[in-house]
């Protein structure tokens, strides 16, 4: 609307001061911009509005940690998410949570052993007993397991120091209890 007015305005004065010409262009550009932004806003509004609660890792982790976090997330989606769920909350009393899980966070490296070799028998997580076997993932490398651990111990509000490769490898060695 505004642009039309100023267009008319600039046509009226035949002399056409350069100024008003420029102003006309400007508001033309503005209204086009508005037209471009509007649908974007509307599209955003009709999206799911998903927000991850992982924002704070940007501040907490260094570049290296963030890289591992992000590779770990991809591995998580592939190997873990079907059972432990996208939000790390597990499933009822069948599959234990990773989010805010004492079992995991009390010994992050030891969880690497569970990832690699699987687990059978009862475990207690946050005072609830679970008894669903977890399959082994023998093909995952120590580095991949480290990345997975960095992700699960720092996603969904979990906060842990970055587990080292040495810690992971020590936990993966046979005959180490915990």
């Amino acid at each position: 609307m505004r642009s039309r007015k100023s267009e008319v305005g600039s046509r009226k004065s035949e002399v056409g001061s350069l100024k008003s010409e420029v102003r006309g262009r400007k508001s033309e550009v503005q209204s086009w911009l508005l037209l471009l932004i509007l649908p974007l806003l509307l599209l955003m509004a009709c999206g799911s509005g998903d927000t991850s609660n992982n924002e704070d890792v940007q501040e907490r982790l260094d570049m290296r940690g963030l890289q591992e976090f992000s590779s770990g997330k991809q591995l998580y989606i592939k190997y873990c998410q079907n059972c432990h769920m996208e939000d790390g909350k597990g499933l009822g009393k069948l599959i234990p949570p990773l989010q805010n899980s004492d079992y995991l966070l009390n010994n992050v490296a030891a969880a690497g052993r569970t990832i690699k070799y699987g687990l059978t028998g009862p475990i207690i997580v946050n005072a609830i007993d679970y008894n669903q076997p977890m399959p082994a993932n023998p093909d995952l490398t120590s580095l991949e397991i480290k990345e997975l651990l960095v992700y699960i111990s720092n996603a969904w509000g979990n906060k842990s120091k970055i587990v080292t490769l040495e810690e992971v490898e020590r936990a993966l060695k046979p005959n180490t209890s915990d």
Binding site: R4, S31, L35, L42, N82, C83, G92, P135
Partner: protein, 214 residues
Amino acid sequence: MRALKLLVVLIVLVGTSSCGGNKEVKKLPIYGRQEFKEVDGKVDTIYHTIPDFTFYDQDSLAVTLASFDGKVYVADFFFGTCPTICPIMKQQMLRVYERFNDNPEFGILSHTIDPAHDTVAYLKDFSMRLGVPNSKVWKFVTGDQDEIYRIGSAEGYLVPVGADSDAPGGFIHSGAFILIDKEKRIRGLYDGTKPIEVDALMNDIPKLLAEYEK
């Protein structure tokens, strides 16, 4: 220039209105092979229906097709030790259960495809841990393995199920949620591992129920 602008506005309006979803109530499709029979000079369509079965649920009660008389229900196939898609299917089915479990015209039927392992006692523990207190609405059933495979196949729910030593966990099965109407016809097939498809299922259940309102 103005026409162009108008066009952009129109595109925007059309584009964004499509995210609101179609408000018009359309009847759900009827799946499966149809047969046609002439009765008194008129052609009758005979639709594919689920054949009868006898299974046992987590409370040791016999479950037959008649257990779902007067109900629309959602069926699926899983096994308790499944390392792949079952947990996410159960998480999604739990959403459906929580939304509709008050409705006396609604039910869920989850078949194990590993009856040797998934006994009645196992299914009871499994369903309790999932947060399903009894078999009133959501029945977890076990039974004769061949009968379970038969009901999953082309004779019944039209989904692949069976033993397969190459598959993770030893069984192949579809992640489908199958929506069945009161005439035991298949009215919807949804991927139970995809929240967006399960949303579609939860949209379709009230539509199907509405078909029976007078």
